[in-house]
């Protein structure tokens, strides 16, 4: 354990760091089991001053001014090598802020620490009703140690400690929806499955995010109405293949800051093949005016050109793409929802008819009707015996190069290093990856030369793409199943960390939105 400097230094009006102790005023707590432990410790104290080792998962809420002042101290101590863990603990502390802390929601950057000051969620008193009856202002002492912190066993910053993915669900996938089946009914099926999986009563849902190319003329609020959900947080995302990742980020922040406590994140489409052709031809004004009249074939034509460029730039052969398609098909054999599960050989792959040279049938994602949903809530809401899945870091990029590059990289290239640093892990630590795969080309563009167990549900190339939005949610859902050790025959042994990506919105020459997250099994 590193030696600790002995200091007696005021850091705020009523917060003092003294010989390894931080004296602050505690206003209130919210949250789950960690706070309960804290409260139990407080109750044991005799004089409103408690000494709680970090090993007991101390989480403390203080007012805004003290938080900022303390952030300075923790940052200095972290920079001085006293202990990286301490800064993490402080970040955790900030995420347990008092509902009275003004303003409602602000973020501050203090050196390497990202600090959020949040408003407690509606419903926190359900967990801390006894606390409401206690004086809200009390003094306490935090004992700083640099021992291991159970919630933060890995180094790095944790973006979300009060929000996790606790359940996943999906509808059936079908190439040809039947009469009576629609985008709405597929989404309903996915939502019901996710709520059952998360053991959440629909009346507990107070937030929803949805993305779809075929929900119109309905919008998110119509869906809430038709699902019978009365909400206080509602988002509709329009970023195609990265919508799922965007919605995940929005939902995590909403739960973390208390804007909602149980959020459904869903997406789905049931355009049928003809309907999808209309979507592809009218994707945006640039496509309507400048691409569709050429007979460009929708995204198939766009990514045919990108694939040619990639093959030329990196000396790739058609069979290189086949390796990916074949490997994913092998995973799909174990996924009962996948629309294509029969084993595929390289001969099968190379013999497939060309769709848009050099792309052949197995390079082009099959459009299906279907929907996915996940549930984001406090990790304590995860059903008993199941590990919640936390997001260690999440980043996104939009219009990263104004369509002036070659499309052989994605917006992920703008934040990849930052994502890994924020997550506190290296690519080599990752156990399983869900990489958005509407075309093999774009998997390579996102992955580079990294190797992971990849798209273990078969990927969209074999399982099917229920529209771009849900097409990202299936990758997230699979990562969750893997990290919860519920993937059955597809299970990657002892999976603990996953990376998921989204990519989409072909503005003109290639996709312009990208996002990625590092997910972690929370023991």
């Amino acid at each position: 354990m590193p030696s600790r400097p002995s200091v007696d230094r005021p850091i705020g009006a009523s917060a003092v760091e003294r010989d390894g102790l931080l004296d602050v005023d505690v206003l209130a707590c919210r949250g789950g089991r960690d706070d309960l432990r804290f409260m139990q410790a407080v109750r044991r104290s005799q004089d409103d001053r408690v000494h709680i080792p970090i090993r007991e998962e101390l989480l403390v809420a203080v007012d805004q001014r003290q938080l900022l002042a303390a952030a300075e101290v923790f940052s200095r101590r972290a920079r001085a090598g006293v202990g990286e863990h301490e800064a993490q603990v402080f970040a955790l502390a900030l995420h347990r802020c008092d509902q009275r802390a003004p303003p409602a929601s602000q973020s501050y950057d203090r050196g390497t620490d990202h600090v959020s000051i949040v408003r407690a969620s509606r419903g926190w008193d359900r967990y801390h009703r006894p606390w409401l009856d206690r004086p809200l202002s009390r003094a306490m002492t935090v004992r700083l140690t640099s021992g291991p912190i159970p919630l933060n066993a890995l180094p790095g910053k944790i973006m979300y400690t009060n929000a996790a993915i606790i359940g996943v669900g999906q509808s059936a996938y079908t190439r040809r929806p039947q009469p009576g089946q629609s985008t709405h009914t597929f989404i309903r099926d996915a939502v019901v499955a996710a709520l059952v999986d998360a053991a959440i009563d629909p009346r507990e849902v107070d937030g929803m995010a949805v993305a779809s190319f075929s929900l119109a003329p309905d919008a998110a609020i119509d869906l809430a109405w038709k699902l019978g959900l009365s909400l206080r947080w509602l988002v509709q995302d329009t970023n195609g293949g990265s919508s799922a990742m965007n919605m995940l980020g929005h939902a995590l922040r909403a739960v973390e800051t208390g804007a909602a406590s149980v959020i459904l994140v869903t997406g789905g489409d049931a355009t049928g093949l003809g309907g999808y052709a209309k979507v592809a031809a009218n994707f945006n004004i640039a496509t309507q005016l400048h691409l569709a009249p050429l007979g460009h074939g929708g995204p198939n034509g766009v990514y045919a050109l990108v694939t040619s460029r990639q093959m030329k730039t990196y000396g790739l052969q058609k069979s290189d793409y086949g390796q990916l398609a074949i490997a994913q098909r092998a995973w799909a054999a174990h996924n009962p929802y996948a629309v294509y599960r029969a084993a595929m050989t390289m001969e099968d792959y190379l013999a497939a008819p060309l769709v848009a040279d050099p792309l052949s049938r197995y390079d082009c994602v099959p459009v299906v009707a279907g929907a996915q949903a996940i549930v984001v809530a406090h990790p304590d809401r995860c059903p008993d015996g199941r590990a919640p899945v936390r997001v260690r870091a999440h980043r996104a990029s939009f219009n990263y190069d104004n369509q002036e590059g070659d499309g052989l990289q994605t917006g992920i290239s703008t934040f990849a290093g930052e994502l890994w640093r924020a997550a506190g892990v290296d690519p080599a630590d990752i156990d399983v990856a869900s990489i958005y795969d509407d075309y093999p080309t774009m998997v390579f563009a996102q992955l580079g030369e990294r190797r992971f167990p990849l798209n273990t549900w078969g990927g969209m190339l074999s399982a099917g793409q229920p529209g771009g939005p849900a097409g990202g949610l299936n990758g997230i859902s699979e990562a969750v199943l893997q990290l919860q050790h519920r993937a059955g025959a597809r299970q990657v042994e002892a999976a603990r960390l996953a990376v998921t990506t989204g990519y989409g919105m072909t503005l003109y020459r290639y996709g312009a939105t990208a996002a990625a997250a590092v997910l972690e099994r929370l023991e």
């Binding site: 005016l289 460009h296 034509g301 045919a304 040279d357």
Partner: protein
């Protein structure tokens, strides 16, 4: 059919864009004037052999080209031009096409 393809040139920094933008991505100037480019070099090509929802589709060729002014645009090819070919550009209803220079 119009000879050449319309581009939009930032009055402030003279960068040309296709498709049209609202602000210049280089200098964020907000005023553009229409200009035209007439030639391009084919970089990549594809033949669209199948179109979702179409049963009597006739294959068409498209290409990613670099114009003489530097823009990378997607055109319909009306001949058998291959990568490296210098093509002449023309427009039909705001859509860019090209064929080998004669």
């Amino acid at each position: 059919m119009n000879r050449g393809v319309a581009i939009w040139r930032c009055v402030k920094c003279r960068t040309g864009f296709f498709p049209q933008r609202l602000l210049c991505s280089r200098c964020h100037g907000d005023t553009f004037e229409e200009d035209r480019v007439y030639q391009a070099v084919v970089e990549e090509i594809s033949t669209i052999r199948h179109m979702l929802g179409q049963t009597d589709w006739q294959p068409r060729r498209i290409a990613s080209v670099r114009t003489s002014d530097g823009q990378r645009i997607t055109v319909g090819l009306t001949d058998e031009s291959e990568p490296g070919t210098v093509i002449e550009l023309f427009e039909e209803n705001a859509s860019p096409f090209g064929a080998a220079k004669k």
